[in-house]
Symmetry: C2
Subunit: 497 residues, 2 copies
Amino acid sequence: MELKVKDLDISTGGPLVAILNWKDSSKLDLHHLDRIKVIKGKKIETVTIDIAESRKLVPEGRIGLFEEILYSLNLREGDIVKIAPARKPVSIDYIKKKLDGYKLTEKEINQIIWDIVHNKLGDIELTYFVSACYTNVLDIEETTLLTKAMAKQGDILKLDRYPVMDKHCVGGVAGNRTTMVIVPIIAAAGLTIPKTSSRSITSPAGTADTMEVLANVSVNMKKMKRIIRKTNGCMVWGGSLNLAPADDKIIRVERPLAIDAKSQLLASVVAKKASVSATHILVDIPTGKGSKISSGDKARKLKKDFINICQKLGMKIKVIVTDGKEPIGNGIGPALEARDVLWVLRNDKRGPNDLMKKSLKMAGLMLEMAGKAKKGSGFKMALDILKSGKAYKKMLEIIKAQGGKEISPDEIKLAPVDYNYPAYKSGVVREISNRAISKIARVAGAPQDKGAGVYLYKHVGDKVKKGEKMFTIYAPNKDKLKYAKDVIKAIDGIVIK
Amino acid sequence: MELKVKDLDISTGGPLVAILNWKDSSKLDLHHLDRIKVIKGKKIETVTIDIAESRKLVPEGRIGLFEEILYSLNLREGDIVKIAPARKPVSIDYIKKKLDGYKLTEKEINQIIWDIVHNKLGDIELTYFVSACYTNVLDIEETTLLTKAMAKQGDILKLDRYPVMDKHCVGGVAGNRTTMVIVPIIAAAGLTIPKTSSRSITSPAGTADTMEVLANVSVNMKKMKRIIRKTNGCMVWGGSLNLAPADDKIIRVERPLAIDAKSQLLASVVAKKASVSATHILVDIPTGKGSKISSGDKARKLKKDFINICQKLGMKIKVIVTDGKEPIGNGIGPALEARDVLWVLRNDKRGPNDLMKKSLKMAGLMLEMAGKAKKGSGFKMALDILKSGKAYKKMLEIIKAQGGKEISPDEIKLAPVDYNYPAYKSGVVREISNRAISKIARVAGAPQDKGAGVYLYKHVGDKVKKGEKMFTIYAPNKDKLKYAKDVIKAIDGIVIK
């Protein structure tokens, strides 16, 4: 059947979709979400169809195309294309199989991930996959296969070096910008650490957002290699590389129900490490009320699974469970966090002690894993590298390799409108919840406004007097400051007793 | 925040969706699939948001609206609306709960169905619900609550009559138009039978499509009542009434994976019976290779569940398991099936014997259930009503009440282009699969072309000689006939040995 293209002037943001008028679809006995081949000359694209009930959107004889397909087949309004029925992706049968509780084979998992990466599955089909993995939990073997498939269906950073170090934090703790202290220490010790990080999704800043205050973080694979060759390390945004790209597409359908399919979380984290050819990985699982992993039991289970998978993939791994009940560091928001990091690296007394200690502990463990330090002496070695100024020097090298300039922490620009939140009574600070502080910082403008956020003067256990400054909110304008102040009223999570 | 409306000129076909530019969404810290209230004067609608990454589709300061919302808030291009963050529907928590394997309460099930009917859930959320019910199967208590909720969230036909008879066939068998023989017999016996039927989704004809050859089937509740008062029965399209409307929305997300969530199937069938206030129900479960329920075990389990739910709802029920391995009747396709039905009702010798016998058996059981006939004598009573011409007379009454006219079966128009399929060898017919015949009939044009379809001369067990006519394909034009002939080549399912 030949149809005339109608440019719908909309992108779906992923799935390949075409719209047919119901009269045309019924001629070929096609239904909503069936597949067709759209053929233009020698180019063919298989797409999912949606059916227009009226002629308003897509009249008979026409085919409404979204931007993804127009681009891929180089089509424009009024062009003539052929269509023909196509089979559903075979991975749909495998998703059904998992939903029915059966174990998937390597071939089946590879096919599912291939189809996800190539936008062959629609939202509904992808949701069934996530749901199947959530209720009929993947076993370690399947999770390992999923990890491999996710890494393989993307680019791989190849470095002729050993060891290749990496770290990961399961997340949920505000501030906690340890990566930016650890990477310079590890690289200064002569080890390779090709660190990719995410931008914020629901937090006030991801490491990529914070590093972006100091340098460029959007680099391609070639540039990344050049930076690592020069400095041993980097801190770049994973999203600018094509590493394990299935992950983002899966996360998209997890958000509506806040699904955290454990096996899929594991697979996506480890796949990203495998994509940069990491050989030694340190994983931090912050635990406690308000963090992602609320109980010690869950943390221990997750730790075991991380170790199992990495061992199956031939990676060395160490997992630590840390206290995640309150923010780490004082600044929350890209600029405020970058300032904390520079203060720590420059041995400035304003550098937050908790951030420094946690970073040194983790860096120390990594030095031990790599055989640079003897067991028990890693912390000391990391401390020496920091105190000697070598870590700061390495940080400057990396910043410059990533197109940034040296900047004094005091020159980092904060958002212009601020407000000091006073203690509502005298006593001891009992709770500063990650969730509350993150929400305030986000509504104040972080991470879009780099200078926005929250700066804490008090942590849990500190004494305060009524009216004493507990934290400052920085916002780009009065409106945002007002929204942020409204959030404080609506949220509990700052408790003095 | 105030935004200017952009009319997207597209309908979503269900879910209420608005598109914001990412700059606006980030100001309110809103993400893909979050909810907002769209406010115009005193009217408020809560909708799901999608985020435009570029300004091409929806620039900053504007809100892209689909037709459902434009209509509901009476908005047009350029109008100014207010938006404010809104909570997610509470039913999302309940869906998550089911996905986590917990049992749902009456309140929770009611809320989920309310949100489905009112388009408050997006495709992804709805898919999680179907998936949850599929993997963490609802127990009988939950299924009963789901049934009640589905019936309650729609219109109810109230008749001051007792008993109110109904029947249901689980489907999957081509032809099998028993309803149109049974309803006239039951109504002629003085019993009330307000029959609603579906149109075809994946078959060559639903009862509504076939009845439409003879009369109007799209009626509202008021008209339906009038027809029943006059004739004791009706045969109308359920889709023109607002009976248990959650069903269609659920089926929409089941199609991509061909999910048949058993508990949801049960609930939707029984809910539709409850919606017409049925008190006595006969359910037919055709079983065998190629029918929906492939094994006797599955049929017995389904039978038990049907009985359990109906008893909990205070309905009398009888379930029969029948042979569903080949088509019932000779005509497959609306016009061809309608002709078979009229031949049976007119005691014409061309009326297919299998269709007549199965209809009489079922009608007989219904007469017994209602107390009209003694146990064991229902078949005889049904046969008498048929043979006396009373059933045909009743059929004419119903056809006329539904706006049709008397028509001789020989006057029913078939599609003009035909082809006689010859036996490819001599022997005994071993298989005529429902799937093969249905596919041929659909590709030939059924049900859109009422006259298209397949007419069978042979059934399983009949002897044939090589070259002898096995069936005729009727199509509206040569192209469709060609497509249908191509299907025969590609499909196995007609076996002579």
